[in-house]
């Protein structure tokens, strides 16, 4: 028996005889089923992603030539402000919440989230927030002070647009807080009896770290925005220098959230990659516990690096040095993850399907963003490239090459579970190829632009930068085109794709032990871990395990099943006699 068959036969009893089916109308209703809410999250955020993407292409069209010849300067500023706000608050953050909603209860063997109604409320705050934000464009006064919305500029560019921006970000932030509470409680309280925290899938660990971070940091953003709205509407002077306020205090409060937000946007996708790579490499994840704990380390360190966004704002020298060192240290837990993923692929039997390609693309692009991130941490260098296209390149390698590739890896991987049907592999690969090329065409030249002296958030630029900007714009168009095969593939496959079966990838985590799409109540009982969540290849002879520096007799040195880093099966039901107690 293969490992997947062992896990399946141990969990046959929890398959619902009559799984029940969702009608299409359910997806448009105030439903409390976590799977319905997850699909609502993913589809809604994808629509906002397309809107934000159109704005990005409008921005790139303006930047195709050095002159201002496409939109007015005011509209240009609104476009990049809304592009960033949408991509952060209406796409990447809620898309992570969408995956968490779908996967957490299934992965830990629960029937639903801890607070189903709160879950639905958290989702239903997103469409009003998003529509409000976009409506400001129609009203003719969209926020145009950048997504950072620094005062005093944000106080003088138009009350209406700025007010709308504040209200929608507050709504979206609240949604994110409510989601985080739900994820935390669900993860800590609702695991199936045989699963301890060190047996949870790594996506769950990632969401644990993300939710903790969200809970600690998001309220500070709310505080900053409420004070900003007082300055805007009530004439107070918290941040307004006219009355003696200090704009730099806003920057501290803003980045106290917005730097952790970067980790809120990447940690869930670290989790997804940690799921996708072992399944399609047919090999256990390398260093389960190292990856799990590195998520917590990133979450903690993420809270004490915010002022690296302010190295040129005028903070004291010792403070710059402190934030430089903490920022650089984040490279260490991130490195653990990257090397562990490489270690997982090494010696595997890699199935190069779309999900795996996107996961490999994620690692390859995220590493570039990580390297430029360490460079940016170095204060003397950051003083040169702060607020330039080097930063634009860096953040897109992290958030687009990282998070968005992670989202797609997740969609290609769990689409069969979500819909019960397979996506078309050929068009998936076309999608990946176009996106990977477009991504590098669009963002790689920006590194050089920034280093040579092109500042960001400008509608016009020095003619010497024209050639590289033209390349970037063509890359952006290619990215827009790359989405088309995906959209058609996703819609067509949902209706006519081949049936997926319960476990098309022969994976071992519990979400694959129920039907596809999952039964309305997920499981008929408590699923069990007859094998660990990553126990691939356990049927093979142990002599094949050959890792440098390893000694199989010592758990601290072992690389095989005895390794102290492994996520163990439930000792009461383990299929392998050695794992039983």
């Amino acid at each position: 028996m293969t490992q997947a068959q062992i896990q399946r036969s141990a969990n046959l009893s929890i398959l619902e005889a009559e799984p029940g089916e969702r009608k299409w109308r359910d997806y448009f209703s105030f439903n409390t089923d976590h799977k319905v809410i997850a699909i609502q999250y993913l589809v809604t955020t994808f629509i906002f992603y397309c809107i934000g993407g159109v704005m990005a292409d409008l921005v790139r069209t303006e930047l195709r030539t050095p002159e201002v010849d496409f939109v007015s300067r005011e509209v240009y500023n609104s476009l990049f402000t809304l592009h960033a706000t949408i991509m952060i608050f209406l796409w990447i953050v809620p898309a992570g919440a969408g995956f968490a909603n779908f996967l957490i209860p299934l992965m830990i063997g629960a029937k639903d989230m801890a607070f189903p109604r709160l879950n639905a409320v958290a989702f239903w705050m997103i469409p009003p927030g998003g529509i409000l934000l976009i409506s400001s464009l129609v009203l003719g006064d969209a926020a145009d002070a950048g997504w950072t919305s620094y005062p005093p500029l944000s106080l003088v560019t138009g009350q209406l647009g700025e007010g709308i921006w504040i209200i929608s970000v507050l709504l979206l932030g609240t949604s994110s807080i409510l989601g985080a509470i739900n994820f935390l409680v669900t993860l800590l309280k609702m695991r199936t009896p045989g699963m301890s925290t060190t047996q949870m899938p790594l996506f769950c660990w990632a969401m644990l770290a993300t939710s903790a971070l969200t809970l600690v940091s998001t309220p500070v953003l709310a505080g900053a925005l409420i004070l900003l709205s007082f300055d805007l509407f009530a004439g107070t002077a918290f941040f307004n220098p006219t009355g003696g306020g200090d704009p730099v205090v806003y920057q501290h409060m803003f980045w106290f959230y917005s730097h952790p937000a970067v980790y809120i946007m990447i940690l869930p996708f670290f989790g997804i990659i940690s799921e996708v790579i072992p399944v399609h490499s047919r090999k256990p994840i390398f260093g389960y516990k190292a990856i799990a704990y590195s998520s917590l380390a990133i979450s903690f360190l993420g809270l004490i690096v915010w002022a690296h966004h302010m190295f040129t704002s005028g903070i004291p020298g010792w403070l710059r040095m402190f934030f430089m060192i903490t920022t650089m240290i984040i490279a260490v837990p991130t490195g653990i993850k990257v090397f562990s993923w490489l270690g997982t692929m090494w010696g595997g039997k890699i199935r190069l399907n779309s999900a795996m390609l996107f996961a490999i693309g994620f690692v390859s692009l995220f590493v570039i963003g990580g390297i430029s991130g360490v460079m940016l941490a170095a204060v003397p260098f950051d003083i040169h490239v702060h607020d330039t296209y080097f930063v634009v390149a860096h953040l897109h390698y992290v958030l687009f090459g990282g998070s968005v590739f992670g989202i797609y890896a997740g969609i290609y991987h769990w689409y069969p579970k979500m819909t019960g049907r397979m996506l078309n592999e050929f068009w998936g690969k076309v999608h990946f190829a176009l996106m990977y090329v477009g991504m590098n065409l669009c963002f790689l030249p920006m590194h050089k632009l920034g280093l040579m002296g092109m500042n960001r958030r400008i509608a016009e630029y020095d003619a010497k930068f024209a050639a590289l900007n033209f390349v970037c714009t063509m890359g952006a168009y290619l990215l827009a085109i790359s989405t088309v095969p995906f959209i058609i593939n996703a819609i067509w496959s949902w209706m006519y794709g081949p049936k997926a079966g319960n476990n098309p990838w022969e994976a071992l985590t519990l979400e694959w032990m129920t039907s596809s799409p999952p039964a309305i109540e997920n499981f008929a009982g408590f699923p069990v871990l007859a094998t660990g969540p990553y126990d691939y290849g356990m049927e093979r002879p142990r002599s094949e395990v050959d890792v440098p520096l390893a000694d199989e007799r010592e758990p601290a040195l072992a690389a095989g099943p005895k390794s102290a880093l492994r996520a163990d099966p439930d000792p009461n039901v383990a299929a392998n006699p050695e794992d039983r107690k």
């Binding site: 390398f286 005028g314 039997k349 360490v374 040169h384 002296g453 290849g537 093979r540 390893a550």
Partner: protein
């Protein structure tokens, strides 16, 4: 021929190291370095680029190699060997990055010190800066600032007569918008920037210039000379101190060739010092979003030989003599802003058409 894998590893390691070292020196990604400080920053970047290239090639190489070498063979549906991880390896790849980032931190710390990053706190000893430097500002800001509290009366929080009559700032004063402070064309607290390099600590800079950022122009006033300029002229080889503030929103002073950037914040005085070395005409860019015309807020940064600089200074003094008294005496009432501003905008190099456009946007 069967070459052992340890030889392969060694060969690949050597090639990787050489490639990284070569590219770290030959990336051609930075513009001219026009000051000694810029050269130091470039050295740091080259080092990071070397390490970055090595890491980049290593990771991409492993990914591509694994995708080919370890891809699933046809009809093989079995799993790979059960390798769960290895603590010594995890320690290895925790320790190596940790050592690298600690090394980079120390190197950055040193460069930061060399370019004068730690000096601003002793800057108030220098005669030019005056007592304004010791003024703590708002309570929150004070906790982030290690300047010792001063017992002198704080003339910066009020629009004192002394502040209002400071000749250094007379031409750019904007007391309606932001409270005025003496010794700088701006107010509030001193925002640490880049101060004197260790060699210059305690010495007065060779030249001090007051810089004001406003939507959408830079104004440079040269203290004790009554010169007001829209371009920044400095002599090569002399240490320059810029005393900067903004009149309306946050701007940022950036000259890519100096590798130097500092936000210019209304209500705060920011200081930077640098020593330009290479004569030339560079671009001075506003690097902080300041409104729709942010992209157009550039001017020239001109490093001249000391002789040419003195010549320029004299020309300016002749040209502006008398202009300032007129400006103050002007009767604003009954004139449109464009009419009122035209003599000044011409001086700043802004064409009337540009102003005209501004009104229609």
């Amino acid at each position: 021929m069967n070459i052992p894998s340890s030889i392969w590893t060694l060969l690949i390691g050597i090639v990787l190291t050489l490639t990284s070292l070569w590219y770290g020196q030959n990336h051609g990604l930075l513009p001219t370095a026009a000051s000694d400080e810029a050269t130091l920053v470039d050295g740091l970047f080259d080092t990071m680029m070397t390490i970055g290239t090595g890491l980049f090639v290593l990771v991409q190489g492993v990914l591509i190699y694994a995708a080919f070498k370890f891809r699933r063979r046809k009809d093989d549906n079995t799993d790979a060997p059960p390798v769960f991880g290895n603590i010594p390896l995890e320690i290895l790849w925790t320790a190596i990055p940790a050592i690298i980032v600690i090394g980079l931190s120390i190197y950055s710390f040193d460069v930061y010190n060399e370019i004068g990053g730690f000096d601003p706190h002793s800057a108030h000893e220098a005669p030019i800066a005056g007592q304004a430097m010791t003024m703590p500002g708002a309570a929150i800001a004070a906790t982030l600032n290690d300047t010792p509290p001063s017992t002198d009366p704080n003339s910066n929080q009020i629009k004192s007569d002394e502040a209002m009559s400071d000749p250094a700032t007379a031409s750019v004063r904007n007391s309606d918008q932001v409270p005025q402070k003496r010794d700088a064309p701006g107010m509030g607290i001193v925002s640490p920037g880049i101060g004197a390099s260790p060699d210059n600590v305690g010495k007065a800079p060779g030249l001090a210039v007051n810089v004001t950022g406003l939507q959408y122009a830079w104004i440079f006033t040269y203290p004790d000379t009554s010169v007001v300029a829209s371009e920044l002229h400095v002599p090569a080889g002399k240490e320059v101190m810029l005393n900067m503030t903004a009149n309306d929103v946050i701007h940022a002073f950036w000259v890519p060739e100096l590798r130097l950037k500092q936000d210019v914040i209304p209500g705060r005085q920011s200081e930077i010092r640098f020593t330009p070395k290479i004569v030339g005409e560079y671009k001075l860019i506003c690097a902080e979003l300041c409104g729709p015309y942010h992209g157009a807020m550039n001017t020239k940064f001109i490093v001249e030989t000391p002789e040419n600089f003195d010549k320029w200074m004299q020309e300016q003094q002749v040209a502006t003599k008398g202009n300032l008294e007129q400006a103050i005496a002007l009767n604003v009432a009954g004139r449109s802003p464009a009419e009122f501003l035209s003599p000044y905008t011409m001086q700043m190099g802004i064409q009337p058409e540009t102003l005209h456009q501004l009104h229609h946007h």
